[in-house]
Each structure stands twice: as structure tokens, then as C-alpha cells.
């Protein structure tokens, strides 16, 4: 009924618009529902997508590789890298790159060898391509758990950093291996694997992508974000960088007017550009721009992520699972073994080489089980099928690999995605802040007892309880509230920074309310647009000042004594 790419429709634009709105509405609905059930948002979207896939006429989404890789993935990677603080990120860069680059290469070959042993009609080239596409991790659900539960920065950085870089690495390896796989398969063609040549190609494509992204990110950060003070223009420019870096890298030969096939890694270009914009450009913008920028990218990431996971559910055809159960189980086993070898093997090696920076075993368990697969794997499997069939090769091979990808993606999302939070808890990786918990408990006690006291007052007014009983209850409540307040005060004496945080939080809420009021006054024409802009900037500056106070932990000023 509604097609995202509906060439056959009478009015394809309206049809696409309708599909977009329906998917957005479904995503919003799912986001509301998951507030009340214990299910990760991304997993819920996949399940809804799977359910909808049984009604192909309702939402006939025609997903292409380009739609995922060139339209949906760049903003996701850009947003993820935008908030990675380089000063902290670089501390873990060696382990991230080790697992992202070496790990992806090793993982690809382990999966490839497993596949070729069991499925003899699959040549090593195409098997490595499959190994690469299935090695790209997509830990959106895991990162969401990290944020919700609060785990160590190192674990979060390593998992997120690995996924940012291994996507690009996987695509480069995939393209090289797929080209080889097709050559091996084609009658009359011969292919001789040359390790150095492949390594050289890998270095050029990956390095070129990073370089293009870095140059674009640098130019935009220093020449536009630093000098142009307009939140709308600056936000628009970041969107151009996100997509522009991808397109320039991927279509470098075509854009520059020489060999069309000459390209670099678009994914790595996006990551590099975003790291520059996030660490240089963003900090040189005004607080107003930062607010707009963060809100825009948060929203875009929500929309795109929602689409990606809904599309995964819609695209996976579970009806094919029954007849392909053996290859699927093989693929699931292969990715688990390869992940095991990569995480524990490289993790162990890293610990031997850099003992002071050893990755704790508990972190390695999460890195192993948190290696979920998602959009990149799906997009590359679709690309594999497309290119394989375009060469007129045996469709059984690409069909099998596609369904194996479906199986792995679904297994990791549903099984690993639903159990990872339990594992995080079981391993005791949730950072608990007893100071804050105690503060919240005392505050909640006061809040709850006041509510009880108010209710007693209502009961007395309604004549349900006598004034005498009310007075007695009230006195008990007063005593309990006083006790809770004393405990809170004592706690704040011991931890003055908590009181500072309370003040800053209250002030932040107040500033937010002021902002809304000014925007409202502007909309209603009570103040001019210029005045509105000036006042909003002032409030945003005050908000940024509050963040500095907050970041300094306040202990040096308002909490203590002279």
C-alpha cells in the first residue's frame, strides 16, 4: 500500500511521504509503549517490523543498500561520534582500533572458514565478504543500556568506538572480498589472492576516507562553526558535513571526474568528520548553537534509528528460517566463536603488551555478548545479493547468505539484546552512587510523607476522619518529615556537592521554563524576533555557565565554607 520507493505508484512522492509518516508514527507509538514494558526500544521496533512484514500490503517498504548506507547510516554515525570527547577517547584508542581493525579482519576469516567448511558451494572470497558483513557490530541497544544503567566510561567508549570504526573496516573488507568472490565464481576468470595488494587497497580506502572526513571536518570546524554565529546555519552545515563527507569519499572518482570506481570509505569519512566537528567545531560555537545542534542531532538520530530497526524487522523474512535453519545456526555459531576469539584473544594480547591498560575480563564479557549486529550487516547482505545476481551467478549462494544474515541479526538483537542488561547487572558493572541514592531516598521520603499528610487533611475536610485523629496523624507525619529532613541535611553536610547539584538542577529547570516563556512570547508577537533571539541567547549563556559550575563539582565555591 505504502512504498518508500514506489516507482509504480501514481504519485511516488506522496506515497513516500505517507510511508515516512506511518513509520514515524509507529516509532513514536512503540517509544511510548516501551516506557511501560521492559523491552529495549530497538528490539521492540524489530518485533513490530517483523509483525508488520506479515502484512506486505500495509507497508511495502522497498529497502535498497543505498537507502541504508547512504541515507540512514551517515547521520547515525555522525551523531554517535559527535559526542565522543577526543581527550578521553584517545586513552582507549589503541584497544578500540585493535579490536575494530585487527578484530574485524580476524573475525571475517574465522566466519569465512566456518562457512566454507559446511557450505561447500560458497567460495572463500564470498565467504570472507559474508564474514566481514556479519562482523560489523551495531550496539545501539547496548549503548542505550549503558546510558540507562550507568557503566564505566571505558566500557562505553570501547564498545561504541569499536562499532564506529569496525563498520568502515567491514565495508572495505567486504568490497575487496566480494570482488574476489565474484571473480573466483565467474567462468573463465581467474583470481589469485595477493595479500599485499589487498592490504594496500584496504589502507588506501580506509585511510583516504579518514583523510577526507578529517579535512572536511577541519574546514567546517575552523572556518564556519568558529566564525559564523547563527545556530540554524551552523546546524545545517553539520548536516552537509555528515552526508557530504560520505558522498565525497564514496564517489570520489566520479565527483573529481576520473575513474568512477575510485572511492574511499564513506563511513570512516563520516566518523572522522564528526570527531572534528564534535571536538573542535562544536566547542567553538555559542551555547545557543550547541543547544540547537544537540537537539537536532538527537532528534535525527531518534528518527533514523527508529527507521533502521523497523526496516530490519520489515526486511527480515522469518518464513525462510525453517528451511534454512542449519545455515542460520552455523552462522550464529560462527559469529559467536569469532567474537569470542577476537574479544578474548585480542583482549588478552593487549593485556600482555600493555599490562597497565589491561581490559578487565568483565568488560570483555560485555564486549563479547554485546556485539549485536544490525543495519550495516543487513545493507551489505542486500548489496551482496544485488551484485551477485547482477553477475548472473548461482542465486542459491546469495539467498543462503542473506537468510543467514537475517538469522544472525535477529538472534543478536533478540537473544543478546534482551539478555545483555541482565549480564551487565550480574557482573556488577552498574556504577551505583550511594551518595546520590541516599539523597534521593531522603528526598523521596519527604515527598511521600508530605503527600500522605495532604491526603489526611483532605480526609479530615471530608469528615472521614476526626480532627483529633487528624491532629495525631499530622503530628506523626511532622515528626517523620522532620526526621527525614534532618537526615537529608546531615547528608548534604557530608556531601556539599550534592546540594550544589540540587541548586544547579533547580536553576536549570527554572532557566528552561524561562526559555519556553520567551519563545512563547516571541510566537505570540509580544516581543520582536530580535529581542527573542537576544533573550534566548542570554538564557543559553546562563545555562552554559551553569554547566561550568556543575562540571567543576561546585565544591570549591558554594558548597563549603570560607
Amino acid at each position: 500500500m505504502f512504498s518508500l520507493i514506489a516507482a509504480e505508484a501514481a504519485n511516488p512522492l506522496i506515497d513516500q511521504e505517507l510511508a515516512f509518516i506511518i513509520m514515524l508514527a509507529i516509532a513514536a507509538l512503540v517509544a511510548i509503549i516501551v516506557r511501560y514494558i521492559r523491552l529495549p526500544y530497538t528490539v521492540a521496533l524489530v518485533l513490530v517490523g517483523l509483525a508488520l512484514s506479515f502484512f506486505p500490503d500495509f507497508l511495502d517498504v522497498n529497502i535498497s543498500t543505498e537507502l541504508i548506507l547512504a541515507v540512514l547510516v551517515p547521520p547515525l554515525l555522525f551523531e554517535a561520534a559527535l559526542h565522543l570527547e577526543w581527550s578521553k577517547f584517545k586513552k582507549y584508542l589503541v584497544e578500540i582500533l585493535l579490536i575494530a581493525i585487527v578484530g574485524t579482519l580476524i573475525g571475517s576469516f574465522i566466519v569465512a572458514l566456518s562457512v566454507t567448511r559446511v557450505l561447500p558451494n560458497i567460495n572463500l572470497g564470498i565467504a570472507v565478504a559474508f564474514g566481514a558483513l556479519i562482523s560489523a557490530t551495531d550496539p545501539v541497544a547496548v549503548i542505550a543500556f549503558f546510558r540507562a544503567l550507568g557503566v564505566s566510561k571505558r566500557l562505553a567508549f570501547t564498545v561504541e568506538g569499536e562499532s564506529l570504526f569496525n563498520d568502515g573496516v567491514a565495508i572495505v573488507v567486504f568490497n575487496i572480498a566480494l570482488a574476489a568472490g565474484i571473480l573466483i565464481e565467474k567462468p573463465g576468470e581467474s583470481y589469485a589472492f595477493n595479500f599485499l595488494e589487498s592490504l594496500q587497497e584496504f589502507a588506501i580506502v580506509a585511510g583516504g576516507g579518514l583523510l577526507i572526513g578529517a579535512i572536511l571536518g577541519y574546514i567546517v570546524s575552523f572556518f564556519i562553526l568558529k566564525n559564523v554565529d547563527d545556530h540554524l546555519i551552523e546546524t545545517a552545515v553539520t548536516l552537509c558535513v555528515a552526508y557530504g563527507s560520505f558522498l565525497l569519499a564514496e564517489y570520489f572518482g566520479k565527483i573529481m571526474g576520473f575513474d568512477d570506481s575510485f572511492h574511499f570509505s564513506g563511513i570512516l569519512a563520516v566518523v572522522a568528520a564528526s570527531l572534528f566537528v564534535g571536538n573542535i567545531g562544536r566547542i567553538n560555537t555559542s551555547p545557543s548553537t550547541r543547544v540547537t545542534l544537540d537537539n537536532f542531532w538527537e532528534f535525527l538520530s531518534f528518527v533514523v534509528n527508529s527507521f533502521v530497526f523497523l526496516i530490519i524487522g520489515l526486511r527480515i523474512d522469518i518464513r525462510l528460517f525453517q528451511e534454512n535453519i542449519i545455515p542460520i545456526l552455523l552462522a550464529v555459531g560462527a559469529i559467536l566463536v569469532s567474537r569470542l576469539v577476537v574479544v578474548y584473544g585480542l583482549g588478552g594480547l593487549y593485556g600482555v603488551v600493555r599490562p597497565k591498560h589491561h581490559i578487565p575480563f568483565k568488560y570483555q564479557h560485555i564486549m563479547f555478548w554485546g556485539g549485536l549486529r544490525g543495519a550495516i550487516s543487513l545493507a551489505l547482505a542486500l548489496a551482496l545479493e544485488e551484485k551477485w545476481l547482477a553477475e548472473g551467478l548461482n542465486p542459491d549462494v546469495s539467498d543462503t547468505l542473506l537468510v543467514m544474515t537475517f538469522g544472525v541479526v535477529l538472534f543478536t538483537l533478540l537473544v543478546q539484546g534482551l539478555t545483555i542488561s541482565g549480564l551487565i547487572r550480574r557482573l556488577g558493572l552498574i556504577k551505583t552512587d550511594e551518595r546520590r541514592d541516599t539523597q534521593y531516598r531522603h528526598q523521596a521520603e519527604i515527598y511521600a510523607k508530605r503527600a500522605g499528610q495532604e491526603e489526611m487533611g483532605k480526609l479530615r475536610e471530608q469528615g472521614i476522619i476526626s480532627s483529633e485523629l487528624h491532629a495525631a496523624l499530622n503530628a506523626v507525619y511532622d515528626k517523620e518529615i522532620a526526621q527525614a529532613r534532618t537526615h537529608l541535611q546531615q547528608h548534604l553536610v557530608a556531601y556539599p556537592e550534592l546540594e550544589q547539584e540540587m541548586i544547579v538542577q533547580a536553576r536549570t529547570d527554572a532557566l528552561r521554563a524561562e526559555r519556553v516563556a520567551i519563545a512563547d512570547a516571541g510566537r505570540r508577537g509580544l516581543i520582536s524576533a530580535e529581542m527573542q533571539e537576544a533573550l534566548l541567547t542570554e538564557i543559553d549563556n546562563r545555562g552554559a555557565a551553569l554547566n561550568i559550575i556543575k562540571a567543576s563539582n561546585g565544591a570549591s565555591d558554594m558548597g563549603g565554607d570560607a
Binding site: A494, E538, A544, S556, G559
Partner: protein
């Protein structure tokens, strides 16, 4: 007049209470003194500097208003002053100008006690006494 140099908050409740009790006993007015020193937060970018200062003063105003209310509830005449700059320099200048009877300062508490140690606050008090001639009392919770 009694002066109580404080930064507000629960951590300085001891010094506030001792100063209020003393002012009540001696039937003196009480002046709460807050010194906002923005340099303690490191270098603040040019564009943000005025907003930062304004926000620091806004918070000081809130905390001092709270203290004023506490003092007045206790039945004493209470006021407050917010000064900007180096804490010691500003306190010394204010004491020289106002010549109060007594200055109360608090010993740092809880997690802030490692910022200014106990010896340092004693030294701080001695220096102020020496420079201004105003008697300084370091308030500790155990003396409440």
C-alpha cells in the same frame, strides 16, 4: 555588628547557627558575607564570562536570601553583602571598612574539607585578625 563569612548551604550550617546564636545573645545585627571568586573555576571564555558571573551572583543571592530568612526567623536583624574577587582580600577590605565586632568563618565540612584543610582555615583566620584587628571565630560543628 557581627559578620559571618559563608557560602551558604548545609555544609556551612554550623557557622550560620553559631553566628545567629551569638548575635541573638549579644543583641547584635548580623551580616552574612558571600565572596564570589570566579577565578576558582578556571579560565572562562570571553563570550560566557558575563553570563558566568551573573549566574554565580544569582546563586549567591539565592543562598544569602535563604540565610537572611533564617536569621530573621531567629529574631535578629540580618542582612547580607555579596562581594566579588579574591576571598581573603575582599573579606579584609570589608572588615576594614565596616569595623565589625566579630567575624565568624566556618571550618570546611564533608567532602569539601580537603579543599581547605583545618590548619589552613586557622591560618586564614589568624591572618585576617592580624590584618584587620577584628576577632575571628572559626566555627566547628562540635562547638554548636
Amino acid at each position: 555588628m557581627i559578620v559571618c563569612a559563608t557560602r551558604g548551604g548545609e555544609a556551612s550550617r554550623a557557622v550560620q547557627q553559631q553566628a545567629i546564636a551569638y548575635a541573638l545573645k549579644e543583641d547584635e545585627s548580623l551580616m552574612f558575607l558571600f565572596v564570589a571568586d570566579e577565578t576558582q573555576y578556571g579560565a572562562i571564555g570571553g563570550g560566557l564570562r558575563s553570563a558566568f558571573k551573573a549566574e554565580l551572583l544569582w546563586m549567591a543571592e539565592t543562598l544569602m536570601t535563604l540565610l537572611q530568612k533564617r536569621g530573621r526567623s531567629a529574631g535578629i536583624g540580618t542582612n547580607y553583602r555579596i562581594l566579588e574577587g579574591n576571598v581573603k582580600e575582599q573579606i579584609v577590605a570589608y572588615l576594614r571598612e565596616q569595623r565589625p565586632e566579630l567575624l565568624f568563618v566556618g571550618a570546611p565540612r564533608g567532602t569539601t574539607s580537603d579543599i581547605i584543610g583545618d590548619d589552613e582555615i586557622e591560618q586564614f583566620a589568624l591572618e585576617i585578625e592580624k590584618e584587620t584587628g577584628v576577632k575571628v571565630i572559626v566555627a566547628r560543628p562540635d562547638v554548636e
